[in-house]
């Protein structure tokens, strides 16, 4: 004991830690699921932009229904698909707050399609963090609007039939929303490698800036693995995204009005300080 006590405190530099915006509650997600990475990225946004004191997050129904246990910011649990409407209610009343929704593909592109499209059409100043894994994970692996052609799910046991008059082809939300002038930033990235995670981080920073600079609606879609419902090993699932899913959902920036030069020369927009509650 004495010998230990005589040692000096080791100098340790913290190079990686849990973001402050994530609580210490253990995540409930399945092995190989992308939600953990995406949660961390969202929390990093809150930390890096110093937004904790003025963030309101809206979480969905689906696998991430319990996300309010994980984010350390104020959080509202929305009903299925309605997160953009709930976010609109918050943002319109508290325009200086940072408001984001976190939604899956069933939530955002099926039951909540109208809320998604109209929030984007209004140019609602909110960030939508969209997890596309092409399946209903929470309810047991049913077909989603983003399920690939031929993909077997519990409600398309013979594989999704995308021929005319059947279930239709998967919906490309980035392409669909990119026609709307209210959209300030729109990008898609697969969450499959450290490199792509860094790219997601870069895109998400721009989405956050879109809101902080009052440029309009922003969304980052991540292509995320669901090994359990895809009936794939985690590494196989990642390979499937990189080889097959990206062909249907091409990654990249679809709309970027964040990096556009402001019309008035040299006008560096400043982020407003949070107002008192």
């Amino acid at each position: 004991m004495e010998a230990e006590a005589s040692h000096p405190e080791p100098e340790v530099e913290c190079v990686f830690k849990r973001p402050d915006a994530l609580t210490e509650t253990p995540l409930h997600y399945c092995p190989g699921c992308g939600h953990g990475i995406f949660h961390r990225l969202v929390a990093q946004m809150i930390d890096e932009f110093g937004l904790m004191d003025r963030t309101v997050g809206i979480v969905p129904v689906g696998c991430s229904v319990l996300a309010y246990n994980y984010f350390a910011c104020d959080t509202i649990e929305a009903s299925h698909g309605r997160a953009p409407a709930v976010a609109t209610g918050v943002k319109r009343c508290l325009p200086d707050r940072f408001v984001f929704t976190y939604q899956g593909d069933g939530d955002l592109a099926s039951i909540g399609m109208a809320e998604t499209v109209h929030a984007a059409a209004r140019g609602e100043s909110i960030c939508v963090f969209f997890v596309n894994n092409g399946i209903y994970g929470m309810t047991g692996g049913q077909m989603a609007p983003t399920t690939l052609a031929g993909q077997k799910t519990t409600t398309s046991p013979l594989g999704r039939d995308v021929s005319v008059g059947k279930t239709g082809p998967p919906i490309d939300m980035c392409k669909l929303l990119s026609s709307l002038p209210g959209v300030a930033y729109l990008a898609r990235v697969p969450l499959t490698s450290p490199k792509n995670v860094r790219k997601a981080h870069k895109y998400m920073c721009k989405a956050v800036r879109a809101q902080l600079e009052n440029k309009g609606f922003s969304m980052v879609e991540v292509l995320s693995a669901c090994p359990v419902q895809w009936r794939m090993a985690p590494l196989v699932a990642l390979k499937h995204i990189d080889e097959d899913v990206v062909k249907v959902f091409p990654p990249g920036e679809f709309v970027n009005r964040v990096d556009e030069k402001p019309a008035s020369a040299g006008a560096q927009e400043k982020v407003a300080a949070p107002a008192a509650n």
Binding site: D53, I58, C73, D74, T75, I76, T88, G89, R97
Partner: protein
């Protein structure tokens, strides 16, 4: 003191919202309540408040949910089919213990029905409507003055109990123009503090969460017990009703909203013919004034219930009536309003029946 002037029912709702401290209104067009959002689209922004036309009633009620969660006084208005679309949202709002105000200017149903007056959404408003064990405070105005006052006061009731407060009116009340005293000045409103609001931590040590999900059965059971305790307090404290000609009455007409008004005209005609008939008008149809009605019906020969429905409130009248007091129902559907003379004749006939028994 406010000057009396001619005011339309829907305008009175809009002014009640402004004067009740409504911070944000979200709505979708539907007849016969369109003047409410039309007027609010002008006067709310002019007073520094939020108005937004949503893409649907589903979105409207969820915007209300968001604004209420943010600690603001939020409201929507609609008519029957649109209110049906809001039922999911109202269940979530009730489950998450959020205050809000919703107005239903009732029209005919089921389905698309028509745009004439109806009282066929009583069950929907008073007995649930959405899923789960929840209740709303439901106020039923019978004139334009009350359209104003009840909408205005609904915000305070909603905040007091953290429940949705609901104004149950109809197409006639919404569309009619009559004299009402509404102050010109917008009063200063001080809502109670809302430490539970999700409005950004702003230095708070603990985060706030607005939620209605309780996966553990014991947790959900406890949460429901808490909600039920609130509803019991509402039933104890907030019952409101009105009586006319009750002192010497032998027969009681029970009616609410526009029907109570029609009934009163019929009662006056019947009184001219020597029939001792009175009126009991529930003002809060939830909490329903069971005990006062039971006491009153204890000394009556019978109760005659009149609604613009196939018979909804009559179930609560039957629950209130002592066994020896017969309850008869008269209903009109489709938007047909019987003239006072017909109401008088029916009251007379009922009075004769119960006198003979």
């Amino acid at each position: 003191m406010a000057q009396r002037r001619l005011v339309k029912g829907n305008e009175a709702i809009a002014l009640g919202a402004l004067h009740g401290g409504c911070d944000a209104f979200f709505g979708y067009p539907i007849t016969p309540q369109n003047e409410v959002p039309e007027i609010l689209s002008e006067i709310l922004p002019a007073n520094g408040r939020v108005f937004l036309q949503a893409e649907s009633e589903l979105a409207s009620i969820n915007m209300v949910y968001g604004a209420a969660a943010a600690g603001k006084r939020a409201m929507s208005s609609s008519s029957s089919p649109g209110i049906s679309l809001m039922m999911e949202g109202l269940s979530y709002i009730a489950g998450a213990e959020l205050p809000c105000v919703v107005v239903n200017v009732q029209r005919g149903g089921p389905g698309l029905g028509n745009i004439a007056a109806s009282q066929s959404d009583y069950f929907q408003a008073c007995k649930g409507g959405g899923h789960g064990d929840y209740e709303m405070i439901v106020l039923a105005p019978w004139n334009v003055q009350e359209m104003y006052e009840f909408t205005r006061d609904a915000f305070g009731l909603a905040d007091k109990y953290r429940v949705p407060a609901f104004v149950l009116s109809d197409a006639v009340l919404g569309s009619m123009l009559e004299s009402a005293a509404i102050p010109e000045e917008v009063p200063e409103v001080k809502p109670p503090p809302k430490p539970w609001a999700t409005n950004g931590r702003n230095g708070r040590t603990e985060r706030t969460i607005i939620n209605s999900l309780y996966l553990d059965p014991q947790d959900l059971s406890d949460h429901n017990d808490k909600l039920q305790a609130v509803y019991r307090r509402i039933h104890e404290n907030e019952q409101r009703y009105d009586t006319r000609f009750a002192d010497d009455a032998e027969v009681m007409v029970v009616a609410y909203g526009i029907c109570a008004r029609l009934a009163l005209s019929g009662i006056k005609l019947a009184r001219e013919q020597g029939i001792k008939v009175g009126l009991f008008r529930p003002i809060t149809v939830n909490p329903f004034p069971y005990a006062p009605l039971r006491e009153l019906l204890g000394r009556m020969r019978g109760a005659w219930t009149f609604e613009l429905s196939a018979g909804q409130m009559v179930q609560d009248v039957r629950l209130s009536a002592p066994e020896r007091c017969p309850v008869e129902f008269f209903g009109k559907m489709g938007g047909i309003l019987p003239p006072p003379a017909e109401v008088c004749e029916r009251i007379k006939k009922f009075a004769e029946t119960v006198h003979g028994s």
